[in-house]
Point group: C2
Chain length 259, copies 2
DNA sequence: CGGGACGTTGACGGTCGTCAAAATTAGTGG
DNA sequence: CCACTAATTTTGACGACCGTCAACGTCCCG
C-alpha cells in the first residue's frame, strides 16, 4: 500500500564471521550486491554499472541505538541500507516527536537533507546495521552522465513522496485497528519482497515506536494487538508476529469507515 | 514550519483583461516572471535562463473545481502554479480520502507522478488558476546539462519530503487546536512570502477540506475556529480570517502537550 | 539474580466524531 | 434584480474511541 511492489529477490545472506573479529573493510561492489534490484536502476550497461560501483564510497556500521544522522547535521551522503533496520523521526523543540518511517535493507536514507544541506530528521538504527555511503555530490555528477541513474534518483525521491501520502491517509482518516492492520501488511509485504516469509515477522521496534509512527499511544497499540489475537487474526509473542488471516487485515484497511 | 522560508517578493499582478475575452496565449518567459524566485534556481547565467525559458512549454488554464490531473492518469509534466490555488488529495477504492496539501502560486505540482509514470493523487483547482507546463522529459534532458537546474529539481523533491514530515508530525501528535493553529500560521507565512498580508487571509477551501487535511471533521474545524474567535485570537467572517495574535497561535503549536 | 526496559491490562475521562437541525451564503435561472 | 435551490457553515446533544494514569507482569542483559 505504501511502497511500490518489489519483485522478490533472494534472501539476504550475511557472510559468516568469526565472533569478536571486526568486520573486514570489503570493497563495495554494487554489481555483486544481492540488493541491487532494490537500490539500483535496471538495464544498466556493464560500463555504467562499474561507474556506479565507483560512486559508492564505503560502508559504515551502525550499532543498535546509534544515529546514522541527526536533525540539523550537515548533509553529505545518501545511505543505502545493506543490513539492519532503521527508524526516522522528526521532533520539535518542546519534545514532541513523531516517527516518520521504518527502513530496511535496500531502502535509501537521507533524502530529507538535500533541500537545506542539513538533515531535518533523525535516523536511528533499531538493530546493528550496515549502510553504503553514496556521496551526494558524486550522485549529482554521475547522474548528469548516466541518465538511468538520474531517472532512478528522481524515482526514489518521488516514491518517498508517494509513501508519505499513504502515511498521511493513514494518520488522517484511519482508526486504530485500521492503522495497525495497514502497518502489519506493509511490513509483511516489504519483507516478502526481500525473500522473507509473508506471514511471519519480527518487529524491530517497540510498541511505543509503532505508536508514534501510527499516531497512537503504546497502550492502544498493545490493546489492538490483543484484539487481533483474540479475533484469531494474528499470533503475537512479544515481537514475533504471525499473520493468520491476511485477507482479514486487508479487509480492515479497505473497509470504509462509513460503510 | 512546513515550508522553507521564502524571501518576500513583489505581489502577483494579473494583467488586466477585458471581461469575456479569452486569455491570450502568452509566450511564457520565466526570465520575466515575477514568481521566478520561487520556481527557479538562483544565480543562473543569462544563457541558462534562456534555455529554461524554452523548456517551459505552455500555460494551461484550470477552472475552479477542475482537475489538473487525476489519480491514475499518465504523468508527463510537472506544473508550476502561476496563479490560483490547488488542493491535492489521495483516495482509496472505498471512498476514504485525504487532502495531502494546498498549493499556491510559485509551487510545483505533479512530483508524485515520477515514480510510476502515473499520478497517484488528484490535483484540483480551488479557484480559477493558471499553470506553466514543464515537460518532464525536457527537465531530465536539460538538468543533465545545467547543474543548477538539476540541483533545483532535487531540492524541490526533497522540500516536499520535508514538508510531508511536518504534516505527519501534525497528524500524529497534535490536537485539534494545535493543528488549526499550525495550519493558519503556515498559510499566513506562505502568503506573506508572496507579498500578501501576514495577518489577513482568505481561505480558498471549505471547512471540510481543511478538516480532511488536518485529520478532523468539518464540525471540529468550525468549532475550533469558534473557540479562537471567542479567545480573541482571530476574527473569522466566513472564509476571511484576520489573525490578531500570531504569537498566541505560535505558542499553541510549540507548547508541548505534556507541559 | 537483580535491575531496568518493555509490554500488558484495567479504570476513567476528555477529545473529538457522529447525527441532526437550523442558519447563512453562494449559485442559478427566470 | 430577485426567487429559489444547493452548498456551506454553525451549533447542539450524545457517546465512542482512544489517551492518561496506574499497577503489574515479562523479558533481557549484565
Amino acid at each position: 500500500m505504501f511502497e511500490a511492489n518489489l519483485a522478490p529477490i533472494t534472501p539476504i545472506q550475511e557472510a559468516p564471521r568469526a565472533p569478536g573479529k571486526t568486520a573486514q573493510a570489503f570493497k563495495v561492489a554494487c554489481s555483486n550486491c544481492n540488493l541491487r534490484e532494490l537500490c539500483m536502476p535496471v538495464g544498466l550497461s556493464a560500463q555504467d554499472l562499474q561507474r556506479i560501483d565507483e560512486l559508492v564510497g564505503s560502508r559504515r556500521r551502525i550499532l543498535r541505538g546509534e544515529n546514522l544522522y541527526r536533525n540539523g547535521s550537515v548533509f553529505e551522503n545518501l545511505y543505502a541500507i545493506r543490513t539492519g533496520f532503521f527508524k526516522t523521526s522528526v521532533s520539535t523543540e518542546d519534545g514532541r516527536d513523531q516517527v516518520t518511517g521504518f527502513q530496511m535493507a535496500g531502502e535509501i536514507l537521507g533524502l530529507d537533507g538535500i533541500v537545506n544541506d542539513r538533515h531535518s530528521c533523525d535516523a536511528i538504527a533499531l538493530e546493528d546495521a550496515e549502510v553504503c555511503l553514496l556521496p551526494y555530490a558524486d550522485i549529482e555528477l554521475l547522474s548528469r552522465e548516466v541518465s538511468a541513474l538520474q531517472h532512478h534518483v528522481h524515482k526514489i525521491l518521488s516514491r518517498e513522496i508517494v509513501r508519505d501520502q499513504g502515511v498521511m491517509l493513514l494518520l488522517g482518516s484511519m482508526r486504530a485497528e485500521e492503522r495497525l492492520a495497514a502497518f502489519l501488511l506493509n511490513l509483511a509485504q516489504r519483507l516478502a519482497a526481500r525473500g522473507f516469509s509473508q506471514s511471519e515477522l519480527v518487529l524491530r521496534m517497540t510498541r511505543e515506536e509503532i505508536g508514534s509512527y501510527l499516531g497512537l499511544t503504546l497502550e492502544t497499540v498493545s490493546r489492538t494487538f490483543g484484539k487481533f489475537v483474540a479475533d484469531g487474526i494474528v499470533e503475537v509473542k512479544q515481537r514475533h508476529v504471525r499473520i493468520l488471516q491476511t485477507d482479514e487485515l486487508k479487509r480492515m484497511v479497505t473497509a470504509s469507515r462509513k460503510g
